[in-house]
Amino acid sequence: MAVGGAIFIVLLVVIALLAPVLPIRNPNHGYYELLPANGAPLAPGGTFLLGSDPNGRDLLSRIIWGSRTALFIGFVANGLALVVGVTVGALAGYLRGWFETILMRLTDIMMAFPVLLFSIAIISIIERGSVLVIVAVIALFYWTAVARIVRGQVLSLKEREFVEAGRALGGGPQHNLLHHILPHLVPIIIVYGTIGIATSISTESILSYIGIGVQAPTADWGKMVADGQDFMFLAPWLVIFPGLMILLTVLAFNLIGDGLRDALDPRARALFRGVIGGVTAGGAGLAGQRPGLDSEAEPT
């Protein structure tokens, strides 16, 4: 399963990178002259391989260019979330004391916000349609889960002999964190990072679907589903193809994450099942509920 997911993602990334040189139509150009007089979108096959939308735009091109939007936002937003989450979690777990209290309560507060509602508010205030703002908003909400997991890990790692040895040899917090603890966090970061991409992509699709994400004419899967909605019964391909792409991409990243978790840290599986399951559910549900996080690993 994980291999299947990986193959899909590799293909997707390659096609997305090659989009500008592939022999496909301009995704944002409306070929109105090819549409019939009543303006009905063209069905798949024939002139357009995957059909056209009511603006005469090529659905295939838009799906390929839409993958660039999805992957870019997925990778960058989640990358940012990881950097912030790991930093906050590691510092809190290592330094403890009032520093930990402040950081972890901040994390709790952030988690208490209904993600979608708050994203809408922020995006409406700052700037609608800017890709950077969308990236920032997604990162803003999804670092919290990483921070909690990392803190739990650091709490436990900190008590291990090799870290104590580092301390005994005179290593400061910076040295110990970077050289002794961080390497042990890498598997979790990779696993969570992969699954987080799926969450980021689905969030981005939802934001675009409700009209506050990526703006016209930029191709985006979520927006394509929204645009095609009123034609759903007449031209089902307008929502099926982009919807399928969101589904497959999110599924693929989740499968890869699952596979990586098994491969990188089989022993941790039982420990993290609750945490990662919860994070995924929280991301997908977007309801601000992350049931699995109750089982957050405390040092024993």
Binding site: N28, H29, G30, Y32, L35, A37, N38, G39, A40, P54, N55, G129, Q215, A216, P217, D227, Q229, D230, F231, M232, F233, L234, A235
Partner: protein, 565 residues
């Protein structure tokens, strides 16, 4: 109807010049009318009001027309005026400034009291009273009544130009002759309401209307259901229907699905059929011959704010005239419209078919000319045209598609447009304020079938000289153009008058370029097969009095849980 959100109202008028398609079926008349039964219709949003002094949208007008009457009304489904509560057409003094209306003596409000001239004086003064805060307060169409300005300023407690001569005679004096005054009188703002109903309802009169009309309001559950029933004391020809039920919170898309499942008679009767539904219904053998079509008498245009950069430069405005591919827009509208390069709409008197003084091609473009003009205006690769926001009202997915096609057209001449789709109220707010919106995508639909309605509220200095809620979104103000409009408004020679309006159009389109005129639309509607006698009216958004129903009533689906409160 003022500024339009979606293609909204229906107009047939003097002749369907450009719209011979589809046999121009304007009615579903089959068999002998039968009385009785309930008609089920649906609306997306709850009604704003049933107070005729306030309502200025097609939803409200659909019901106001059923509940109230004015002095005059349109004869059948034409644009010709005839007496309604008036006993005969008014006597107009030779100076064109004094109108004398004789009233019928058999007209009763649904509370049982007879209607007199005092009721009209009360209703009109209330409608124009700044305290009522309706769209007509402060002037607009009615500001020309003698003494109205003093009334607005608070210098007078009543309007001296509205005189009750005797209980059944009303005299109205104007400051200057106005050839469209009778059309103004026939607007819902002129409907008569009883003083005692307003007094007892207080601020809630909008929900407790009392009128003289063919129907009376029976029940209004906010956000869910409106029921009107046949008025037993109605003085005119009684309607066939016993009752009309309007389900609220049903989108047109859902409404048309329900209609095809025999759960709805007429979905959203005041709006045209949405694109996707139109395409599938016109391919459906049970419905394709039932689709009613009629010109909407609307004009859709880009307004360029004359007071804002870069549109204060005439060369820029002129360049924009040549850019928009209007044929693409007609295609997005499923062919339900015509390219329009002027400011009047078919079949309004004064509309010129195939008007094309700028020599545009069949698509309404001349890209090379646009590029040359932009170069002349000082824009080039090294000094590119600044990106502009195109502000539009997001009524449906079609609004986005239309805006996207304009965005693509302007790319061809190196102009970047950012699409800013707004909710209708926000759109009206931002575009109606001076120096607030440079470029906007607007629609104007007739209030009444007279060409002055396409000029006075949207292209005169008086309409530009406002601080908010303006209709003149280009803030176009030219003394010479104003003079032409004044002259035309009072001209009693109708042929000469139309010539003046055509001169005005030439002036706008070839001299000053405040707008890029684009297209006019065709209204389409359809009713379930059990509905008969359904016709589209040239002025009113929905007329139920000609409708009768056969067979069993649709099994109404429950109102969706998401209906707005």
């Amino acid at each position: 109807m003022k500024r339009v959100n979606t293609a909204a109202m229906a107009v047939l008028g003097v002749g369907t010049i450009l719209l011979s398609a589809c046999g121009n079926s304007v009615s579903n008349t089959e068999g002998q009318p039968v009385s009785g039964g309930t008609l089920l219709v649906s609306f997306k949003d709850d009604l704003k009001t049933l107070d005729p002094a306030i309502g200025y949208d097609t939803d409200s007008w659909s019901f106001e027309r059923a509940i109230y009457n004015g002095l005059l009304d349109y004869k059948g489904f034409t644009t010709q005026l005839q007496p309604d509560i008036a006993a005969s057409m008014p006597v107009i003094a030779t100076d064109g400034k004094t109108y004398t209306f004789k009233l019928r003596k058999d007209v009763k409000f649904s509370n049982g009291r007879g209607v007199t001239a005092d009721d009209f004086k009360y209703s009109w003064e209330r409608m124009l009273d700044p305290k009522t805060a309706g769209p007509m307060t402060g002037g607009s169409f009615w500001g020309g009544i003698h003494g109205a300005q003093d009334f607005f300023n608070g210098a007078a407690t009543q309007i001296s130009g509205i005189k009750v001569v005797d209980p059944y005679t009303l005299e109205v004096d104007l400051d200057t002759p106005n050839q469209s005054f009778l059309n103004i009188v026939a607007m819902p703002f002129g409907f008569v309401i009883p003083k005692e109903a307003v007094a007892s309802a207080g601020s809630d009169y909008a929900h407790k209307p009392v009128g003289t009309g063919a129907f009376v309001l029976d029940k209004w559950t906010p956000g869910q259901l409106i029921v009107v029933k046949k008025n037993p004391t109605y003085y005119g020809t009684k309607p066939y229907l016993d009752e009309i039920d309007a389900q609220i919170g049903v989108t047109p898309e859902v409404g048309y699905l329900r209609m095809q499942n025999n759960q709805m008679d007429i979905p959203q009767p005041d709006l045209t059929i949405p694109s996707a539904q139109y395409i599938s219904l016109s391919a459906n053998p049970s419905y394709k011959n039932r689709i009613l079509k009629t010109p909407n008498v609307d004009i859709w245009y880009l307004a360029m704010n004359m007071n804002m950069k870069p549109f204060d430069n005439k060369l820029v405005r002129q360049a924009f005239e040549y850019v928009v591919n209007k044929a693409n827009q007609i295609k997005i509208l499923n062919g339900r419209g015509v390219v329009n390069n002027g400011i009047q709409a078919p079949p309004m008197p004064g509309y010129v078919p195939n008007y094309n003084p700028l020599g545009l091609d069949a698509n309404g473009q001349n890209i090379q000319k646009a590029k040359d003009l932009l170069t002349q205006a000082g824009y080039s690769a090294s000094h590119p045209f600044p990106a502009q926001d195109l502000v539009y009202a997001k009524a449906s997915a079609d609004s986005d598609r239309l805006a996207a096609s304009i965005q693509q057209d302007f790319q061809q001449v190196g102009v970047t447009l950012n699409l800013k789709g707004l909710a209708f109220n926000a759109f009206l707010d931002i575009t109606g304020k001076p120096n607030s919106t440079a470029l906007s995508y607007n629609g104007w639909i007739q209030d009444f079938p007279d060409p002055s309605d396409f000029i006075d509220p949207i292209l005169t200095c008086a309409a530009a000289n406002v601080t908010a809620n303006g209709g003149n979104v280009a803030f176009y103000c030219d003394k010479n153009a104003d003079k032409l409009a004044d002259q035309a408004r009072g001209d009693t020679n109708s042929a000469e008058r139309l010539k003046l309006y055509q001169q005005f159009q030439d002036f706008i389109v070839t001299q000053d370029f405040p707008w890029v005129p684009m297209y006019s639309t065709v209204e389409t509607n359809v009713a379930a097969p059990r509905v008969h006698g359904y016709q589209l009216h040239p002025v009113w958004p929905f007329v139920a009095t000609s409708i009768w129903v056969t067979g069993s009533a649709p099994s109404a689906a429950p109102v969706s849980a998401s209906a707005s409160p």
